[in-house]
């Protein structure tokens, strides 16, 4: 396995202290830190070529457009898209899921149609469909999880029928680390003519992703969870899907003509990019993709399996600690949710924070999943390329301290 420790030097924030301890950042599933390469790309853009894109007949505008479209091409090649035109820049995963939900919801879906989800979805892949259900009368249907925290496909045959028009699933859970059964759902969708949307917010940053191999119709993800800036995300769609999808947002740039009472849309992908896009952020995402490609996504994944495995092993030694998620690190992602004795997750997080360790506590924007797991809140440690075994050791030491603070034997 490639040793990635040297990467840490690229992340200025990792040398800071928190509460008197060197920072141990274990909250990358919420957002990742940024390497100087990304910060420099954004800064360079603003300092040398900042201009609005697709508009100008002046040099800066041409350079800015080239950089912006260059970023699109890099993202496209990163996920092996058929063409850069299949890559739409959005504000983030949430925004992309809303574009898909509204695009189909307001224009294609009919009362009685069904959208199939899984219980492990993030709120961002639930609420847009609820909003659409309200406006159209479509029905939401959920797949459960098995005892091993895998999506339960045994119910699929019973649930699946021609009324299912859209199947939407997380590629990787941000709570349990569960990998979504995309291949099986794509096959199932084919049998009833449904389209498949993959929420790749956790998948794409952590797992080599090839949209051709994936077979889904849409894949969405966020830049800020893969070393890129906030404010940028991606909606990839198969060319024919993007052609048929009606745009949701109207405005400048997404039109080819505007009359007083009606307009014609620009070609894909501009059709979905109303208004001035997040130009600098797209360029930053392009740099993040370059950075990840230089490491190699296979190495990224190997590192994650290794550190997740090590974490699961070490956490097993902490008394009264329950991990929610699959136990085999090669069959899961690096978001590790757990409960420690009767210490509430927020108290765990507060105590860890005093030792400079950043974890998240709460419902992780996945309340239906939390109800299914019958927990109100969990603490979650999540890893990325810059994390080391040493970080895991410090986590475990601090958890033992937490036990002491709560009067449990260390």
């Amino acid at each position: 396995m490639t040793d990635l420790t040297h990467l840490r030097d690229d992340f200025p924030i990792l040398s800071r202290e928190v509460n008197g301890h060197p920072l141990v950042y274990l909250d990358s599933a919420a957002t990742t830190q940024k390497p100087v390469q990304v910060l420099d790309a954004v800064d360079h853009y603003y300092r040398t070529m900042n201009a609005n894109v697709h508009r100008g007949a002046h040099a800066l505008s041409v350079e800015a457009t080239d950089a912006y479209e260059g970023a699109r091409a890099r993202v496209a090649s990163f996920i092996n898209a058929g063409s850069p035109n299949e890559v739409v820049f959005t504000r983030g995963t949430t925004s992309a899921l809303n574009i898909i939900a509204y695009g189909y919801g307001l224009n294609v879906l009919k009362p009685g149609d069904k959208v199939l989800l899984t219980i492990m979805e993030h709120h961002s892949n639930i609420v847009p469909w609820q909003l659409i259900a309200r406006h159209t009368g479509v029905e939401l249907v959920y797949l459960d999880l098995t005892e091993d925290y895998e999506v339960d496909l045994s119910q699929l045959d019973r649930i699946l029928d021609d009324a299912v028009k859209i199947i939407t699933v997380s590629g990787m859970s941000n709570v349990t680390g569960t990998l979504g059964p995309v291949t099986q759902l794509v096959a199932a969708a084919k049998s009833v003519g449904a389209i498949v949307v993959v929420d790749g917010a956790q998948l794409v940053p952590h797992y080599p992703t090839d949209v051709e191999a994936l077979g889904a119709d849409f894949l969405v993800f966020s830049g800020h969870k893969m070393l890129g800036p906030t404010g940028i995300g991606v909606m990839w769609g198969k060319a024919e899907r993007l052609e048929e999808l009606e745009p949701t947002e109207g405005g400048g740039e997404m039109i080819s003509d505007v009359q007083l009472y009606e307009s014609r849309w620009a070609a894909v992908p501009q059709k979905f990019e109303a208004g001035t896009p997040p130009i600098a952020q797209a360029i930053g995402l392009g740099a993040a993709v370059d950075y990840l490609e230089k490491i190699g996504m296979t190495a990224v994944r190997e590192h994650e399996v290794d550190i997740t495995g090590y974490a699961l092993e070490r956490l097993a030694d902490v008394p009264e600690l329950t991990v929610y998620g699959p136990s085999d690190p090669s069959r899961r992602g690096g978001a590790v949710s757990f409960e420690l004795a009767d210490i509430h997750a927020h108290d765990v997080a507060t105590i860890l924070d005093q030792y400079g360790i950043a974890v998240r506590a709460g419902h992780h924007c996945a309340k239906p999943l939390m109800r299914h797991l019958e927990v109100a809140a969990t603490a979650r440690a999540s890893f990325y390329v810059y994390n080391t075994h040493d970080d895991v050791d410090r986590l475990v030491d601090a958890l033992m301290e937490a036990r002491k603070v709560f009067g449990l034997d260390g």
């Binding site: 509430h344 108290d347 507060t350 709460g362 309340k367 109100a376 809140a377 603070v405």
Partner: protein
């Protein structure tokens, strides 16, 4: 970790683990629900108001040790008190926590003299994000009192 010891005092852990008056009221009462959306803490409160006093109360919900202990301590501090007394306690509490501006009401010579067990929550002031947790039962109480139209 002196701050942590200050935060998680024994009396807080006791209230967290053995909360007072958990349950629901039957008979006439008003109900209010407090929610901290950013962390998911929930606090459900029933109070019975009779003749200008809180004669009974019960709590449900879940959350961190701070919010749950604060709620449990609140039970001790309000049941059997007149509304005016309750308002007084609540005011003192918010001053102690720095939620309302003003002088710290506590008498540091005589711990527990002003707010009883609740004084154990002082340590939360050093953890600004957790103040909301300690305050959740009290904002819920304020809503309940409003509903009781007292």
């Amino acid at each position: 970790m002196a701050d942590l010891k200050e935060l998680y005092r024994q009396v807080i852990l006791d209230h967290y683990r053995n909360p007072r008056r958990r349950g629901k009221l039957s008979g006439p009462h008003v109900h209010a629900e407090g929610l901290n959306p950013s962390c998911g803490d929930e606090f459900f409160l029933d109070i019975r108001v009779e003749d200008g006093a809180i004669t009974d109360a019960a709590i449900e919900g879940q959350g961190c040790s701070i919010s749950q202990a604060s709620g449990s301590m609140m039970m001790d501090a309000i049941v059997g008190k007149t509304i005016d007394e309750v308002r007084g306690v609540s005011g003192q509490f918010k001053l102690m926590m720095g939620i309302d501006e003003g002088e710290d009401p506590l008498d540091h010579e005589r711990p527990g003299a002003v707010l009883g067990d609740l004084e154990a929550l002082q340590g939360v002031r050093k953890f600004p994000v957790r103040i909301k947790c300690a305050d959740l039962p009290w904002t819920t109480l304020a809503e309940a009192l409003e509903r009781a139209e007292v």
